[in-house]
């Protein structure tokens, strides 16, 4: 697979170690560890997973298995404005798929990718607990409800120049 090569600085390795230590280097806490690290770095490149595996004393294949299983985790840097389209049951039946394909068309990227200028990335998530507003889209921390394909361009425009 194609992937981004990253050279970790000592400070980055220390951060990862610190996070692992805060969970007592307990392999059962892998998902929580990865959450925290993704929060700190924005994504989870292979080099980071390697350090995590060593710290928690588990196989790096296992770490990679978890990272690829949960759609929340990403191995590519997210955009400055990460777009998450809910494709949970309620959103799905109310047309999330069309909203998603409109985002993909507008930004010319696929799910899990980031625009070349680093501004936007698209991911899917399963239910944000706002089914009454379905279909739901999140951009960063901001939530948009009852989104239709026609609204997509306006949503993107809000972040122009940012």
């Amino acid at each position: 697979m194609s992937r981004i090569k990253v050279e970790l600085k000592k400070k980055d390795v220390d951060t990862i170690r610190e996070i692992c230590r805060s969970f007592s280097n307990n392999p059962d806490e892998l998902i929580n560890v990865l959450h925290k690290i993704q929060h700190a770095f924005g994504y989870l490149p292979a080099e980071v997973q390697e350090v995590v595996a060593r710290e928690l004393r588990i196989a790096v294949a296992k770490v990679y298995g978890v990272v690829t299983f949960y759609s929340f985790f990403s191995m590519v840097p997210k955009g400055r404005h990460p777009i998450s389209v809910c494709t949970g049951t309620a959103c799905y039946v109310r047309g999330a798929e069309n909203v998603l394909s409109e985002f993909r068309k507008e930004l010319n990227i696929d799910v899990g990718e980031t625009t070349p200028d680093g501004r936007f990335s698209i991911s899917c998530l399963r239910c944000v607990g706002a089914c009454g507003l379905a279909p739901v889209v999140m951009v960063g921390e901001k939530t948009y409800g009852r989104v239709s394909p026609e609204m997509v361009r306006d949503i993107i425009r809000e972040y122009e120049g940012q």
Binding site: R3, E47, I58, A61, K62, Y64, G65, F69
Partner: protein
């Protein structure tokens, strides 16, 4: 043990089992065989793989809304189970059709055909149609070729047995389930090739794969080509463990020794000389035993530059393991090459000269219970100007195929003897095939070399057996030698971590990557986790040892001659060049792309 018993009925039969038992196991106790697919029970290894993933083993439980996976559902008092209601049969049929809808249907040319759990179950269930196959999505994944193992993930049914072997039994950690849903496969980290991963090629994953997703690299076609080439002299060596298992492929009971028939079959296949890896096992003992004594005496004299324990180095899966994961200890394993490689080095020098055949025209083939051997013989250290000492290695299973293909009636063959000089061996050579055997062989020789006295006994029962980690103290005429033995890489890891933490008091340790040693190797007839079969093979190995007239490696007349005519003495300059090796830190290569 004070265990609560639970009474239940399965198909109206009453069963009583201990609390915590699964429906599947309770049914077996009642004589009811529920079909399973992803499930795997490696009883004696204490590994029960029951992910409940495939859903083939579902049963109906009265009062329960949905069907229960019997492999992973525990029984309770008064439970009423039905294993073959129409609802159950329909569900199983659907599950099977769904599995097959995303599985290639080219069984006729699959290397696993006839030995495939999925195929067997499909036959049993009489699947004649896959509904909606025309609109079914079919997942595809690139095929990964390594020097020993081929991963064809299009045939993977996500039973994840391989993952359990790789992570729990072997603690290698090369394989993990990745991705989600339809896209999920079992793969190394970052989906790198097996060759670039921490994989040791132990082949335990291949040994339990229920389909053709994991198979060995097949060299039989190449062998047939070479055997029919008049310009080539093709010779063969057979590992000790092969003779104790090959018969199973021809319907003989486990534990049948087929040494003589195997030799006869190889001769009929067209090998010019049929030799024995047991010969070079004896040679290994000469070199490794001498190295052990050398390190031991230096250590006793207080030489701080010498590290103990010395670890055996015959097992290529084990070598790959420490080269990737214990790189701080590359100086403690013996530098002695494995018997396979010693054989190749001697065959392509000493023996080639004797029969006046040029190195390039001599093809050395090995029959091995092992898949890591396929990789071992491709290593650069074991080549001279690009020409490998051992050209290629084929597994016990491949040999059985070849014998069948060549229309040889194996069971009616006469018993024949190995050729000389590289076919003469001692009982010490043959026990290399079982866990504990290498160290026992080494002690038989090292004792006599060290003490200059005759061994009071030849059988060291304290070194034998199936426990994962064993230890024994052997008296070398007043000097106590502490021996450690591990088989299965998970057990090896425990011993290595003890050494690393200074908690280890052994002088010498034998390690074999596979459970039971080579008799349980990744290239052997499939034992489906039945340890009884391994025990039978082990008994056969020791039986062969007991019937040998010579049972100590240093008494092998052809080994003595080899040293007189060619090598000089153990650890001589020539021995070092031909029979010893060095180890490589592979962790750099592995981390990370």
């Amino acid at each position: 043990m004070n265990m609560e018993m639970v009474k239940l009925t399965i198909d109206k039969k009453e069963v009583e089992v201990p609390e915590g038992t699964t429906i599947y196991k309770a049914a077996r106790k009642a004589g009811i065989e529920i079909p399973v697919l992803c499930y795997m029970d490696l009883g004696d290894l204490n590994i029960e793989h029951k992910p409940g993933g495939c859903r083939i083993c579902v049963v109906e439980v009265e009062g329960r809304r949905n069907l229960a996976p019997s492999c992973s559902t525990e029984v309770y008092e008064g439970m009423k189970v039905h294993t073959h209601t129409i609802r159950v049969l329909n569900a199983r049929q659907t599950v099977m059709e769904l599995l097959l809808s995303d599985h290639p249907k080219d069984c006729l040319i699959c290397p696993k055909s006839g030995n495939c759990d999925l195929q067997e179950l499909a036959i049993k269930m009489g699947v004649r149609e896959i509904h909606n196959q025309d609109i079914a999505e079919v997942s595809t994944y690139r095929t990964d070729f390594s020097p020993a193992i081929i991963r064809d993930m299009n045939k993977c049914i996500m039973c994840r047995r391989c993952e359990t072997m790789c992570n729990e039994l072997q603690t290698v950690g090369a394989l993990s389930a990745i991705n989600r849903g339809f896209m999920s496969v079992v793969a190394p980290a970052f989906e790198m090739d097996l060759e670039d991963s921490v994989c040791t090629y132990c082949g335990q994953c291949v040994a339990v794969c229920p389909t053709g997703a994991l198979t060995e690299v097949d060299h039989t076609h190449r062998l047939i080509r070479d055997l029919s080439n008049p310009a080539k002299t093709v010779i063969v060596q057979t590992a000790p463990a092969v003779r104790a298992a090959l018969g199973e492929e021809f319907g003989l009971p486990p534990g049948t020794l087929v040494t003589g028939k195997m030799v006869a079959a190889l001769r009929r296949l067209g090998f010019k000389y049929v030799f024995d890896t047991d010969f070079s096992a004896d040679l290994t003992i000469m070199e490794e035993g001498t190295e052990l004594l050398d390190r031991l005496t230096k250590h006793l004299r207080g030489d701080k530059s010498v590290r103990l324990p010395i670890l055996t180095s015959c097992c290529p899966g084990w070598v790959n393991f420490f080269e990737a994961q214990f790189t701080d200890m590359l100086d403690i394993p013996s530098t002695a090459r494995s018997p396979q490689q010693m054989f190749g080095a001697i065959a392509k020098t000493y023996f080639a000269d004797k029969i006046r055949v040029k190195r390039d025209n001599l093809i050395v083939v090995s029959i091995m219970p092992c898949l890591a051997k396929k990789y071992e013989c491709t290593r650069d250290e074991f080549k001279v100007d690009g020409n490998p000492d051992v050209d290629y290695s084929i597994s016990t299973r491949e040999l059985a195929h070849l014998i069948k293909k060549a229309n040889i009636e194996f069971n009616t063959l006469p018993d024949e003897d190995f050729d000389l000089p590289l076919g003469e061996s001692t009982g010490a050579g043959v026990i290399f095939g079982a866990t504990g055997g290498v160290i026992e062989a080494a002690i038989r020789t090292a004792y006599e070399l060290y003490t200059n006295k005759k061994l009071p006994r030849i059988d060291f029962h304290e070194l034998r057996g199936m426990d994962g980690i064993r230890e024994a103290v052997i008296d070398f005429d007043g000097l106590s030698i502490n021996i450690g033995i591990a088989h299965g890489l998970g057990n090896a890891r425990k011993l290595l971590e003890d050494i690393r933490n200074g908690k280890n008091h052994y002088h010498a340790i034998e390690i074999m990557a596979c459970p039971g040693g080579c008799i349980g190797g990744g290239g052997q007839p499939l034992h489906h986790g039945n340890f009884g079969i391994l025990k039978k093979r082990m008994e056969a190995i020791y039986r062969e040892d007991a019937t040998k007239s010579i049972r100590k490696s240093h008494e092998n007349p052809y080994i003595i001659k080899l040293y007189e005519e060619f090598l000089g003495k153990p650890m001589s300059e020539r021995s070092h060049k031909l029979l010893h090796t060095h180890y490589v830190d592979k962790s750099k290569k592995i981390i990370y792309i």
